[in-house]
């Protein structure tokens, strides 16, 4: 009996912790499945994995063709994020394939893909599904004869040092990454018409993608800054994907090595890889740049409850609260460019919301003189941030028949005339009846 009570008390006292750890509030991914070609990668890339573990992620390492792996069981996803460090896998084991990975992303989970030279068609296919195109030549690598990293071993200039990083504090953190990033692998291109994909690390203008072993017979198809070394994709449901063309850029060797870009005299003790990739992983796993908008309120000035319908030329207030996830808690999001549209096929009113620095954004305006079914629309899309798309429908009615102005001074003569007619009629009847 006592044991039973003990167990009960224990479970109950531990419940809050369970609740917190599985809280749906925090968008952080906790369980990550890492698929590897070779279990040696687990130790050769341990610095990267350790940085993830130190931030609270549970990593599960599996071989890519392990027949027991699966992303979901009985309709529930077993993992919250997927890391594919298996550039040469031809077929995944278990129940994972391109379609299931695509569904995984479409249900809101994040993905990191690292390809490498001779990446398999499967990895290329997954990357195409995400929105980037690797060079079709399977054996091509990125070669840069003016931006390569000075090294004692490699002579074919496939080890390049790139510092063409995207300028975004959200994606790469507020600290400036001084040292260039070492890269050795394949390049991919990004369709400029694709609004969801961003080039995070691009090659220098002198790079090109070709097979280093064979002679160039045709001009290479991918050249210059069009070659993207690392790209990120933020899907419409705010799932984030990182596609990198080199697995070795995540390795301990590259993290620890010094770097000197050819043609520049500065030699850095440590390459920028660790900083770059750690910050990028923070972004991918939603520790930065994840916004939520809650508590949309609108009401007429002076009232507090939300009406079902407005009238033209009404004055109204609108308020919304926007928070950003800091990795551990929701912080108020501060910005001065969140705009509200009062929209009916085109915006009739466009106002910038003013913030009180504690996450509340509000404004007030006058309903335009047009009646119809309007929408309060907040469309907020900034580089690196999740997109906010709020829309609330509200009808706007015209004046009622007794809401117009009455007793206009301009019309007094007409009122006077009508009343004089009535008075005249009255007098006339009296006169007509009684004169005789």
């Amino acid at each position: 009996m006592a044991k039973f009570l003990l167990y009960i008390t224990l479970t109950i006292s531990l419940l809050p912790f369970f609740a917190v750890s599985f809280s749906p509030e925090s968008p952080i991914d906790r369980r990550v499945l890492v698929l590897l070609d070779d279990l040696a990668v687990k130790s050769s890339h341990s610095l990267f994995f350790d940085s993830l573990k130190s931030r609270g992620f549970e990593l599960e390492f599996k071989l890519a063709d392990d027949p027991n792996i699966g992303l979901q069981r009985y309709g529930q996803y077993l993992y919250d994020a997927l890391v594919l460090f298996c550039p040469s896998v031809e077929r995944f084991g278990g129940s994972i394939n391109v379609a299931s990975i695509a569904d995984f992303v479409d249900s809101g989970h994040d993905l990191i893909i690292a390809a490498d030279t001779n990446a398999s068609d499967l990895i290329r296919e997954i990357s195409t599904e995400s929105g980037v195109d690797f060079d079709e030549n399977a054996a091509a690598m990125v070669i840069d004869h003016t931006g390569y990293a000075v090294s004692n071993t490699d002579g074919d200039h496939t080890l390049i040092a790139s510092d063409d990083l995207i300028k975004s504090d959200v994606i790469l953190g507020s600290k400036n990454i001084e040292a260039p990033v070492l890269f050795q692998g394949i390049g991919h291109s990004v369709n400029p018409a694709n609004t969801l994909v961003l080039q995070v690390l691009a090659a220098s203008p002198s790079a090109y993608s070709a097979n280093p072993q064979s002679k160039l017979s045709n001009p290479p198809s991918l050249t210059g800054s069009a070659i993207s070394l690392v790209s990120v994709i933020q899907a419409r449901n705010n799932a984030r994907i990182v596609v990198a063309g080199s697995l070795s850029m995540f390795s301990n060797r590259f993290f620890r090595s010094g770097v000197q870009k050819a043609g520049s005299s500065t030699k850095y003790q440590k390459s920028g890889n660790q900083e770059f990739l750690t910050e990028l992983s923070k972004w991918v796993f939603h520790e930065r740049g994840h916004l939520k908008a809650v508590n949309v309120r609108h009401h007429k000035v002076g009232e507090s409850d939300e009406p079902a319908m407005y009238r033209i030329s009404d004055d109204l207030d609108y308020a919304v609260e926007i928070y950003e996830w800091s990795g551990t808690s929701w912080e108020p999001y501060v910005a001065n460019d969140v705009q509200l549209q009062f929209y009916m096929m085109s915006p009739y009113v466009l106002k910038t919301l003013s913030t009180d620095k504690k996450g509340l954004y509000s404004t007030s305006f006058k309903v335009p003189d047009v009646y119809g079914v309007f929408q309060f629309k907040v469309e907020y899309q900034r580089l690196g941030y999740t997109s906010l798309s709020l829309s609330k429908q509200i009808p706007v009615r015209p004046f009622r028949h007794n809401e117009y102005e009455r007793f206009l001074p301009a019309a007094y003569p007409y009122y006077g005339a009508s009343f004089s007619m009535m008075a005249g009629f009255f007098i006339f009847t009296v006169v007509h009846l009684y004169s005789k």
């Binding site: 070609d37 070779d38 040696a40 990668v41 050769s44 890339h45 550039p87 040469s88 896998v89 031809e90 077929r91 695509a102 992303v105 479409d106 490498d116 030279t117 001779n118 398999s120 068609d121 499967l122 290329r124 296919e125 990357s127 195409t128 599904e129 995400s130 929105g131 980037v132 195109d133 690797f134 079709e136 369709n191 694709n194 609004t195 969801l196 994909v197 994709i233 899907a235 419409r236 449901n237 799932a239 994907i241 697995l247 070795s248 390795s251 060797r253 319908m309 009916m344 096929m345 009646y371 119809g372 079914v373 309007f374 429908q393 009808p395 009615r397 015209p398 009622r400 028949h401």
Partner: protein, 784 residues
């Protein structure tokens, strides 16, 4: 003298008798009018028909639930999304207010009829009222006998039945009654010169303005008649009393109705009334001065006034013309212009041209709609001239103008029907008069009675006929023709007594209008047969042709009656399986029904007031899938509804209406070009169809998976196999298709979560299986 006294008391007895008889006949006519319209309720169910009545029904529901102030100010946000529609200001409230009042009265008497029942039966009730109003009107024109004939003809005329069956809850149901009553009160005022009737006339006109846009017919016909009377020298002060207060009060009352508002004074449709108003004042003044001056002075006055007045007149007319010509349509609305110039609509306003009710009627439709009356109308016109009075000249003018307008738009056959009934009633009753009088005149000779003088002859022969008539009456069948025959004689006598005819004159009359006995008997019989054919035709038309509710379709096949209830099935699906705020896009025909039955917001509906919005939907239906998806997405549409008749052979489906989508869309968006969809000048959907046609959204949504039905994709309406059989939809997905494939509902797919790269999907399967171990050799050493 004693004989005269006896005849006068006989006469009053006969008058009383006649009065009671006519009362019961009118009651029977009312019952006939009501019951002949009940076929649709018996054959199908008590349901509201067509499209427009659903809107009226929804408005009536709102009115009964929320009261008149909310109804007056109602802003409907569930239609014409996102523009909304101000119902209070764009609907003719007469019908809904009438039904609402009826419902409220019944409810307060504790008769709990539902709003739907009241709406369904409003039209038959008002058609009974309309036939009584026709009796009153024709009585003013010609006499009570003609009145009864006209009333019974109107109760059954198919043209009126077509728009007032039980379930056809549309404006015309009460508007025709209002029209006839207004005319009756006008003629009554004209005949009596009483201001009381003038007031009633104005109020009846107000009711007409509330009910139907066709009130412009009244406000132009009456001034035309006044002008006619003035021009033919029949001006009298009664004319002034009949016309002038009507114009003033009528314009005021018309401006009260929000739909009309200031149009009552600003549009060209009303200018005729103001012009004639001025003219009648001038004429009245002229007559007044003529009355108080001597003839010579009057001539002087005329010359003086004419010279000055002409100058002033020209100036005023010049100003008026400048004002009117400054607007492009010269102040006329689109619909009125299309009435005046039948080719206007097809050139400039395809929306008006596309409504099937606005097409000109064919010749057979005249015979179908008024049947025998088509022959009787010319006879009636002649009968009106025989003594030409103000009232009969009005009747002639009415029939002439309504014939013209009915030839322009088939919908206006409805306005022509009462005129035809009046004329035919007059003609029939005159014919009966002549024949029965001939028989009566010659009957005493046969019965061996001696000659009396004219007055006695008529009275005694009437007594004789009365005795003969009584057994007639006892064998009266459902058809009241024999009683009509008696009525003629009674009423003709009363008429004769009231009008001061001298006996000699009547003798002369009798001498002139006598036909041989056999001929008149046969003619009478033939007229009776004519009436019989008319009745048979009317009942057939009411039962077979005009009772279909068009929301439920039936067809007879070898294994019985098939009922196609697909429309209601689709609306019920929408009602139960979509969110309340979801928007449904379809062609405008189905807008009213969707809002009323499915209770979902629609983009365009039958009101067709905004051509650009309709053109947007038409363009979307004619565009390829992606462009259509963009257009619908910009309008926040969630579901698209398409009507397809190819499986069962329903001819009014969207593919047949497609040409209007292209035309209306192309009228506003020039990138839709009609020749792109035509092959040899025809819209085709078979293998000869143009690629634009085969790729457009309407084609894809109509024929998606159609080939799975019979393997060949044979369209029963167009009677060919379809051109493109295997259709893939990339931006839409099918969510519902009704039992007979008549209504198909599709949902817009949300935008893709990820945008694919440009690399084509390679067939990696074979290469993967053939070289499973290839990767081992190229596996990189991660430590390097």
């Amino acid at each position: 003298m004693a004989a005269a006294a006896e005849t006068s008391s006989d006469r009053t007895l006969r008058n009383a008798f006649g009065g009671v008889l006519s009362f019961f006949i009118l009651l029977l006519i009312g019952v006939l009018a009501f019951s002949i319209r009940l076929f649709s309720v018996i054959k199908y169910e008590s349901v509201i028909h067509e499209f427009d009545p659903y809107f009226n029904y929804r408005v009536t529901q709102f009115l009964t639930k929320n009261g008149i102030y909310d109804f007056w100010n109602w802003f409907d946000d569930r239609t014409w999304y996102p523009l909304g529609r101000v119902i209070g200001g764009t609907v003719y409230p007469g019908l809904t207010l009438t039904a609402g009042t009826l419902w409220r009265i019944l409810n307060s008497l504790n008769i709990p009829l539902s709003v739907e029942t009241v709406c369904v039966f409003t039209a038959p009730i008002f058609s009974a009222f309309a036939s009584w109003a026709t009796y009153l009107l024709t009585k003013e024109v010609k006499g009570a006998g003609a009145g009864l004939t006209a009333a019974v003809l109107l109760a059954m005329v198919p043209s009126y039945i077509s728009r007032s069956v039980a379930g056809s809850y549309d404006n015309e149901a009460v508007a025709i009654f209002a029209l006839i009553i207004t005319f009756y009160l006008y003629i009554k005022t004209l005949n009596t010169g009483s201001l009381f009737y003038a007031t009633l006339n104005a109020i009846a006109y107000f009711y007409m303005v509330c009910s139907w846009g066709g009130y412009t017919f009244i406000i132009n016909l009456i001034p035309m008649h006044v002008l006619l009377c003035i021009v033919t020298g029949r001006y009298s002060s009664r004319l002034y009393i009949a016309y002038a207060p009507l114009v003033v009060l009528g314009t005021l009352l018309a401006s009260l109705v929000p739909v009309v508002g200031f149009n009552a004074v600003l549009t060209s449709e009303h200018f005729a009334s103001f012009l004639v108003f001025i003219i009648i004042h001038v004429v009245a003044l002229v007559y007044y001065i003529k009355g108080i001056l001597s003839a010579k002075m009057f001539k002087v006055a005329v010359t003086l006034v004419v010279s000055i007045g002409l100058l002033v007149c020209c100036a005023v007319i010049a100003v008026l013309i400048a004002l009117v010509a400054s607007s492009p349509t010269m102040g006329w609305s689109g619909r009125s212009l299309s009435l005046l110039d039948p080719t206007y609509a097809s050139k400039y306003i395809p929306i008006i041209a596309s409504v099937s009710e606005h097409q000109p009627p064919t010749w057979p439709s005249y015979f179908m709609d008024i049947n025998v009356l088509a022959f009787l109308v010319p006879a009636g016109i002649i009968a009106c001239f025989l003594p030409l009075s103000d009232a009969s000249s009005f009747a002639v003018l009415y029939i002439v103008t309504s014939v013209y307008f009915s030839g322009v738009m088939v919908r206006l056959m409805l306005v022509f029907a009462p005129a035809a009934c009046i004329m035919s009633g007059i003609a029939l009753s005159q014919a009966f008069d002549v024949f029965t009088r001939s028989i009566k005149f010659q009957l005493p000779g046969i019965l061996g009675k001696s000659e009396f003088d004219a007055g006695d002859t008529s009275s005694s022969s009437v007594v004789a006929e009365n005795d003969a008539a009584k057994p007639d009456k006892s064998e009266e069948k459902l058809k009241e023709r024999p009683s009509r025959k008696n009525k003629k004689k009674e009423k003709e006598l009363v008429e004769k007594a009231s009008v001061e005819k001298t006996s000699t004159k009547s003798k002369i009359e009798k001498r002139l209008l006598v036909l041989p006995l056999e001929a008149s008997v046969i003619a009478l019989l033939l007229l009776v047969f004519l009436g019989a054919f008319y009745v048979v035709h009317c009942v057939w038309a009411a039962a077979e042709a005009y009772s279909a509710p068009s929301i439920v379709l039936t067809s007879h096949s070898h294994d019985g009656l098939h009922v196609f209830d697909d429309f209601r099935e689709a609306y019920a699906w929408l009602r139960h399986n979509t969110e309340v705020d979801d928007k449904v896009a379809s062609w405008w025909d189905y807008g009213y029904q969707t809002t009323a039955m499915a209770n979902r917001t629609v983009i365009v509906d039958n009101n067709t007031w905004n051509n650009t919005h309709i053109a947007t939907v038409g363009t979307a239906m004619s565009s390829p899938e992606k462009a259509a998806w963009e257009i619908f997405n910009s309008l926040d549409v969630k579901y698209v509804l398409v009507v397809f008749g190819g499986l069962v052979g329903y001819p009014s489906d969207d593919i047949n209406k497609f040409l209007w989508m292209v035309r209306i869309g192309g009228g506003v968006f020039p990138h839709i070009k009609e020749p792109d969809y035509l092959r040899d000048g025809q819209y085709r959907i078979d293998s000869q169809a143009t690629p634009t046609m085969l790729n457009c959204l309407m084609y894809k949504l109509s024929y998606y998976r159609f080939v799975d039905v019979d393997g060949k994709g044979f369209d029963r309406v167009r009677r060919t196999e379809i051109g493109k059989k295997y259709i893939k939809l990339t931006h839409f997905e099918e969510v519902f298709t009704t039992h007979h494939w008549m209504v198909r509902i599709y949902k817009l797919k949300p935008p893709r979560n990820r945008i694919r790269g440009k690399t084509k999907k390679s067939k990696t399967k074979t290469s993967a299986t053939s070289s499973p171990r290839k990767s081992v050799a190229t596996k990189k050493n991660p430590w390097h």
